[in-house]
Symmetry: D2
Subunit: 381 residues, 4 copies
């Protein structure tokens, strides 16, 4: 595939994701960490306009001067921006105008790609991978918006993601020794995966399966949410202050557990893997099982011994720089480095991850109480 | 006009107000006290369905069982409801469906009105006055939504409300004595105006004009917002904590004052009456002028001596029950009485008040920090 | 009594109130609205130093330059001051030094009183009445501090305040007409009572008794705290958010109601008058009884027809200026006027009010959720 | 030294720390993370009563049944306890009674130590190390209490801690390779240091000096606090929301920097090492210097190549379990493990650390915004 074809393919995927939405669904921001679908579509477009077209296409005229202010996410280098919490209040530009913005930028990108695609390859790949990250957020944010509507609208009747099951059983064993970590091929990767380096791992075993709803229900039924001794201290505060009793999207109706899925409200399937748990819940479940979560290095080394890719998997590693991590110069330097504190690493990828956007060195990261991504638990010992 | 004609006319007015809106504008709830336009349209419809059709039209079938939960505002008597703060997250039912809901209810209301309009007159008048109250909120909430968009969209180029000026000058004097207060005609009025009673007023003078932007700018320029001595203690906290420096919607751009109007961002017109001030600001301005705000009783008695109707006018009266105030039985009893604490009375009506919805005995009420209504200041001494 | 004797008597009373305290009890500020006993003793002394000695005693040298910053309560006119919320963290000056401060100021006050007591009478009376107000707060703040210690220390075994009962029965009736309100004798009164004026009262009846614990228990047992329909809307939020189930200081232990008293934890006495209720609770109880609270004007006129003085009595009047209210010039002008918003008036006086500090025109005021004063409920209809 | 002598020596040290305090100083809790000195004295005593005497001394009678509730810190296993935020409101038991409690427990501990000290050695060492941890907190909490009093009381005129300087210069270099981490001697250590294990380190250099006030002032003067690009995203929020402009206890007076020290308010000494910085500040300073903080493993291995012990040193390692970390059974298991999330490791020890309470494997940990400990910055590259 040429870069130009790749560009078209990725950009089109964002719009396909939004096809089942009504105009109204594009607008709201129900909580700070969720963004309006409209905003995702515009922001990923702004990324190309700001970092590619304005820099590299001669005489490029921006679509609308206001958009840099409206659709900058967190690049302080680039100037003022709308407060994150206010994204849901910006009704204009409307959905139609955002799609026009996409078309305008795409047209100019195609011109630019004809002119000089190779010298911009690195930057373009970053822009496309950035858009792919927002594609996953689009899906999880749409699920959040629909899932917090008391009438539980269906996103897509044909999606069966929440019924994903395990294919293997048992544990894989890894020997003690020195292992190499990090990305070193020519293919695209983010700065936070760079800096190949050695780590020393002690012998460990890691499960070939993700925890299932059935296992997780045992934890619930054993009063796992009511016994402080399984929980990290902050986790226990989180559980008690927020009255948490089950994974996100679970509802107990007349004694039976249902959960909100991309296909509306459904009974919880015991065979399927548990989804939408916080790091606190993953950690408490592991403690209850008398096991632990793997570190991100254990996960990376062991990942060739099990199937992965249906759920992001919490590790017990904090999101910190690798040795020799180098923050790129300029605004792009704000991409990853400044978030390297008080978050935990998730490894793998999920049902919501777009095609060609996963590799075993990929470092995803979220706060310990966040659970609206498609994540799950893999145990180690 | 027959009741049926009145019904059509009032209901149609809500939809006319929404004509300049795009679909996206109907959705957000930027702050708790503002509701999505979509919600206003559905809620005022639900009021007729819940309190009129379900009770009085034989065999009436509700449009959608979920709507009572979604569009009940605060009637605890009627059952569970969506938390006020979450109204902006409910994207479905969409705008189109809300308009269908209105059409469905209107059609059944017309049937009912043919059957027995007279015996339901009181209830219908309440429902129509309720809708009229939401019409004013629709306009002020739309202004709030558009006015908090950094690109300042225009609602209606032909509206010139923010340029309203005074027609008279000077003060009117009222003699000491016993005066009668409250509503006593046959025409519709709310329960909070009932209970005709006497009050004793001491001699006072009241301005025939509202405070102008020019006068208010003098207060600003005299550092009125920076000197605690003009402010109530709570007002001073409000000013300092929220860094208030001018009325709502005012922006100082390159040394000059602009404000957001129904016609977009405009220069402040010095001749026009000041608008969008809180009770705290009204009180501080009066203190600075060495005058005071009138009580609601003074206002009601003096109101025949000056023009009013362009702005709600803050009084120095707390919103409390009149002697012999009687809370109606049932859910309708929640209409007014339960709000009679920690709010101040505003008298008059405004440019945003619908036709046939004002009278000198009308008691409007807001919290002391609220200023998104079209309100202003009239001084007394 | 000469002014000098009055001065000594009032000042001594503050110290007598503190006799049962240990040094540690003088220090904490458990919530914003409670001040450390040490602070009360120093602040009321600072009032004399700041407003009397510095102005009127030639060559007076302040005890300690820091104290004006430390012990100014809310007089912005006088300069910077410690934030109210930080009063409990100021361990130095210690209790001993505060008593030395009192002795120093008292000594100089006696010198001044020999020189020119009569010309300062008005100011001195204000200072002494100010100290008396803090004496009542001292007692209620001490009760709050001890009452929030899980081991419930006794303040004074001989105090039996919480067992106060009613002496009369029935209702008094007042005729419709014009009545005169406000203070007009030569004796001391606060600025908020001045401005004699007429009010028009409609016929009403007012109870000769305060509500008893027994009656209030009926309200509790009738699920009064669980039924929104008795409550103001803000009251209902207050009850549900704070999980209020009974008056302040009440604890249900093994199915029986106890309350914390000046004499430690005791069984609730059904004959005694209910105490420590918020305005919201008073209002809900009245609604449940199908009666109402009197206005402050009704109370003032009717007060000669019943006994009062054991509890502050919530009225349904907001704390607002009387006609012709005049704020004094200078810092003393901050005494009352700036609090005239969003508070309700209580009339009467309480078991904790010092001698010679009550009169029927006295206007006390608190926020609607405050209940750590010795207050109660009198019904009207 | 026998265990009994050790016990006496450690216990006496806590009381020596408190000698300069007035009774009032023992009471307040100005913020959640600071505890009243009185509480530290009682809590460390309760630890011996609860975990040693009640378990191991036959017929031991607790000093006071209420104390377990009052002075349990966070051991959920042991039962109910006072909320952390309320520690400052508990005036009784008073300081005198707390000292009596200490004497009572000490006397019984001496009896127990005669009976069976060896078999309890492990538990006793934990109790004494626990008390030593509270000794450091006692000092830093006392500094916080006095340092937030606007009159800046002196704790001890003879302490010169804030003038500590560096003794060496330059950088130490460590070769790439496998290194052993963790505690493995017979001597006491905490569970979080156990689990000896290998790590692979890449070559690095580490400074032999801590950052000085002079270097830190350069950062301040270069607008380091005003430029987002040096800061972690959360750090930048912390700086802007809290208006941070300098280390804790620093005050700019007439253009010159002072700081509160154990010896009162003093000019900042440029030669001394910078103290009281948060992890965010340490990280931003390192970024500005184009260097980084060491990991805790780098620090442990390099620690023999430089002097340390005057300040706790922030590392860029999150506080997480070592491989094979085992949580002890029972309440003691709550000691460390449950805090292993969202905190960063500090290594070394400080001027406030008691004698015999430091070693190169010691893992201290605090949240990224906490800076009231005596901590500083060591750079690596």
């Amino acid at each position: 595939m040429t870069l130009s074809e790749q560009y078209n393919s990725v950009r089109k995927h964002s719009e396909i994701i939004c096809q089942p939405l009504k105009t109204e669904d594009f607008v709201p921001q129900p909580v700070n960490f969720v963004s309006p679908p409209k905003w995702h579509l515009a922001h990923s477009t702004w990324f190309f306009e700001q970092f590619v077209l304005k820099e590299h296409l001669p005489d490029y005229k921006v679509f609308n001067d206001d958009f840099s202010f409206l659709f900058n996410s967190y690049y302080n280098t680039v100037g003022k921006r709308v407060f994150r919490a206010d994204r849901g209040n910006i009704t204009r530009p409307g959905v139609q105008e955002v799609f026009e913005y996409r078309a305008y930028v795409d047209m100019h990108m195609q011109i630019l790609l004809q002119l000089k695609s190779e010298e911009l390859r690195e930057l373009l790949e970053l822009g496309l991978n950035h858009e792919q990250q927002h594609q996953e957020l689009l899906l999880t944010d749409i699920k959040y918006i629909l899932g917090h509507n008391p009438i539980f609208p269906i996103y897509n009747e044909d999606l069966d993601w929440e019924n994903d099951t395990n294919a293997e059983t048992g544990f894989a064993k890894i020997e003690e020794g020195i292992y190499e970590i990090g990305h070193d091929s020519e293919a695209f990767s983010f700065d936070n995966e760079h800096g190949n380096h050695n780590v020393y791992l002690h012998e460990f075993e890691i499960s070939k399966t993700l925890v299932t709803n059935s296992e997780y229900l045992e934890f619930i039924n054993a009063d796992g949410y009511k016994n402080f001794k399984y929980w990290l201290d902050e986790g226990w505060s989180w559980v008690t202050e927020n009255k948490i009793e089950a994974p996100l999207y679970w509802h107990k109706i007349d004694g039976e557990w249902f959960h909100f899925t991309m296909n509306g409200l459904q009974k919880v399937n015991p065979e399927a893997v548990v989804t939408h748990v916080s790091f606190y819940e993953a950690s408490a479940f592991a403690e209850w099982k008398k096991m632990r979560l793997p570190t991100e290095f254990e996960w990376e080394i062991a990942s060739e011994k099990f199937n992965w890719g249906k759920r992001w998997e919490w590790t017990n590693s904090a999101y910190l720089p690798y040795p020799n991590f180098k923050k790129p110069e300029g605004a792009i330097g704000e991409y990853n480095g400044k978030f390297m504190v008080n978050q935990m690493v998730l490894r793998g990828s999920s049902c919501a991850t777009p095609p060609n956007h996963s590799r075993k060195t990929y470092r995803n990261f979220f706060h310990t109480d966040e659970r609206w991504q498609f994540n799950s638990i893999r145990l180690a010992k």
